[in-house]
Symmetry: C2
Subunit: 244 residues, 2 copies
DNA sequence: CGCATACTTGAGTGCTATCAACCAGAGTGG
DNA sequence: CCACTCTGGTTGATAGCACTCAAGTATGCG
């Protein structure tokens, strides 16, 4: 179950050919630098489902870009309970919060079979020294990452379970499309339990919240496949407070 | 009430003399660069209490370092409700999440009379071009900022009000000291209402949670002045779950 | 098919939001 | 100096939502 293979399909060898290149590091670089970059990127490494990418407290050495699949990160508290801190979809980067501390602050686990690009951070930092546009890119990336933390705030600051879930679905819907607009049909890579954990709800409660959204005809669902049938109503529910 | 003055006390004119310089930008720079840096920093600008530093959706132009006082940031949702997203204590920097989007994502308001250093971001980015150590500094800063987002996760993933508040107090206690260890005596710059808003609780509930912590002899309180009397017990309470 | 896991749904308890009253301190004006 | 007011904080009673325990259904996999 925990085996990792490093096979690469042909189309995943070069950053230039990667469908995600516009979102990833190469967008900031010219051809010569991409070649240099590729020298220390393990492109499209495959991970089976439920595979651990890195563990909390391990030495930080690499960032990972999700090429395909999905990843969750969680911290383990003093009682041994896991708290999911984020989900990562294709085009998103894992490990940023661990750069300063030199060790991973979280554990990262694949939610499905994944392709991940592993980026050696020390070499990236070296390359950055002589290429300030790469630094600009990095700083913008961080800022975006901080900004997406706001999504999380938005979820959790909603008091009712249904509102939280609605907000969560909207966020995932937007992030799935990668174009900035909302994808009305999408598939959730994570379990109800994971969603509940992330939103601070019991898994039963998140399940009930799904049922309620269906009942209110905001969405249709078939297992993890979601279709938003009434976008405006979903938005309304997502910003609904306890006392309205 | 809303007047801003730009007086500077003599000791607040130079970054070199600033007590926070070890935490701030200058730590990454040599003397010559500090001089350049100071040319576009408005050092120690004073803001009265309840003053707005910047507003959500305004054009992003500057970062702010808190020299003295405290600042809260919040987003206003579609219903006009405010959700506090962070508190900033001396040595901390405001505005990082807004760099990528070119506009401020939040509104920043002073919780007390404040001294803030305003840093023109465009000029900082320019300076960064020829000084890669400044980029290194920036990237570490961002990473730390992401990491401190984890504090927030930690707070909200606790289910009970008392556990959330205990976690919150521990975090503030640590950040107040600026040395990494916990300050047992400190003063909260924000109201119970603000704490409640931040933690997703009604202000009455946060007040009740304070009372309970006193009752359990974890802390003593006199208005906003807090003294941690039983650190270990406070830690225990902070990681307590609903079912223990 | 049988097992395991994920998900759903039901019933009861408990925590928190709400509404409300009350208290303390600061600032105001007589 | 003392009422008055305003704000922030505390405390009480009630109702509603979510957690828990529990049972039952569906899905997937060997």
């Amino acid at each position: 179950m925990n085996q990792t293979s490093t096979q690469q399909s042909p189309s995943e060898q070069s950053c230039r050919l990667c469908a995600l290149s516009a979102l990833c590091i190469p967008a900031a670089l010219d051809d010569a630098l991409i070649t240099e970059l590729e020298s220390f990127i393990s492109s499209g490494k495959r991970y089976a489902k439920n595979n651990t990418v890195y563990r909390q407290k391990e030495n930080f050495c690499s960032l990972y870009v999700v090429k395909a699949g999905a990843v969750k990160t969680y911290i383990t508290d003093v009682n041994g309970r896991e708290h999911i801190t984020g989900f990562y979809l294709p085009g998103e980067i894992i490990g940023l919060e661990s750069i300063a501390g030199r060790e991973y602050l979280e554990t990262a686990v694949t939610l499905a079979d994944c392709h991940l690009c592993k980026i050696d951070y020390a070499q990236l930092a070296q390359l950055r020294k002589n290429n300030s546009s790469l630094s600009d890119w990095a700083i913008n990336l961080f800022s975006q990452s901080l900004a997406s933390g706001h999504d999380f705030f938005t979820c959790l600051s909603q008091h009712t379970a249904v509102a939280r879930l609605a907000t969560f679905l909207l966020i995932i819907s937007k992030r799935t499309s990668r174009t900035g607009d909302y994808q009305l049909d999408f598939s959730l890579p994570m379990s109800r339990q994971d969603i509940g954990n992330y939103l601070g709800l019991a898994s039963e409660t998140s399940s009930r919240a799904f049922s309620k959204l269906v009942e209110q005809q905001c969405i249709e669902k078939k297992n993890r496949q979601i279709r938003i049938t009434d976008f405006d109503k979903l938005v309304a529910v997502s910003s609904m407070s306890l006392s309205t």
